[in-house]
Subunit: 155 residues, 2 copies
DNA sequence: GGCAGTTATTTCAAGCATAAACCTTTAAGC
DNA sequence: GCTTAAAGGTTTATGCTTGAAATAACTGCC
């Protein structure tokens, strides 16, 4: 009474994984859109700026441009523009790296650190509400599965 | 011996949900980067183009610009540019909507439909490999949880 | 010391994305 | 008919993003 096995099924779960990917995309974009909107209306800022500030806030000693783009997994030229605007706004500053005149180190100004603290606190609330449908154990389980995807990708 | 309830813990799982969000972002961006790279090298195309073609392929009768931007959840003006380039490349075309001279209907050309079929097939393989760390039941479970997030968001 | 190769970063062109302003057409009241 | 409001789209200004090319500085080798 079991259904007959089809002869040729090279990737049995293919459709399910595709569906998962589309759903992942949908959720991520939706949450991102909400966060962007909140950052815009509450802080007149953007997600890329927040991401850069977040990375800088975890490295008080500063980061080189290439370290920054490596952490955020974005292109090198991309960071140039974002940091430029942050510097113009007094949020970040560039320091010379002694012994290497090519490089510069970027870090948050006092004002930038204070501003980020405010934004990060709100950001955490927003995320907590947006993902409120999941309980702590569900969230942790999902984190583990996502970690497996990341590890596999890195080979 | 039970631990006393803290007076003020408005959002106990806040940190876990924040971690989950950062992980979701990481996975999504990583997969997106791989897919973008593949689309670029194999088909000289981009993700936004693929998304538009995908939507159009599911609506052979064509879509109005506003329907398209609604489906993809992107801004109206955004779609204008992408469709413009697809039309220039002979992938899509615009038709007048009888009885409404404001609107136009976009659909894939024959060439566009064939091209999308090729790309979609490869795309499914890529996704299947990128998410290969998850089994079918895990994928399905995650889809359900993600659906809960989406539903909650819509209120 | 010179110079080949590497590393750090910026610049550039093209495309993507948003929000806001705008234009045209349609629909609704009166 | 005329006015007004809404709907469908495009345009514009600004910013994000990439990949490639350019620039500059450093490193090592002979």
């Amino acid at each position: 009474m079991t259904s007959p096995e089809p002869e040729m099924t090279p990737e049995p779960d293919s459709k399910g994984r595709l569906r998962l990917w589309l759903k992942l995309l949908k959720v991520t974009r939706s949450v991102e859109a909400d966060l962007r909107e909140s950052l815009r209306t509450e802080f007149a800022s953007t997600l890329p700026r927040f991401d850069v500030m977040s990375a800088l806030s975890r490295h008080a000693e500063g980061l080189k441009m290439s370290e920054l783009s490596g952490l955020l997994k974005v292109s090198n030229g991309n960071v140039t523009g974002i940091v430029e605007r942050l510097v113009d706004d007094g949020i970040a500053l560039r320091e010379a790296v002694p012994g290497d005149r090519r490089a510069s180190r970027v870090r948050l100004t006092r004002k930038g650190a204070e501003e980020f603290a405010r934004q990060a606190s709100e950001h955490e609330h927003w995320v907590n509400e947006l993902l409120g449908a999941l309980e702590a154990d569900e969230a942790n389980a999902m984190i583990e599965q996502l970690d497996r995807i990341i590890r596999e990708e890195a080979q």
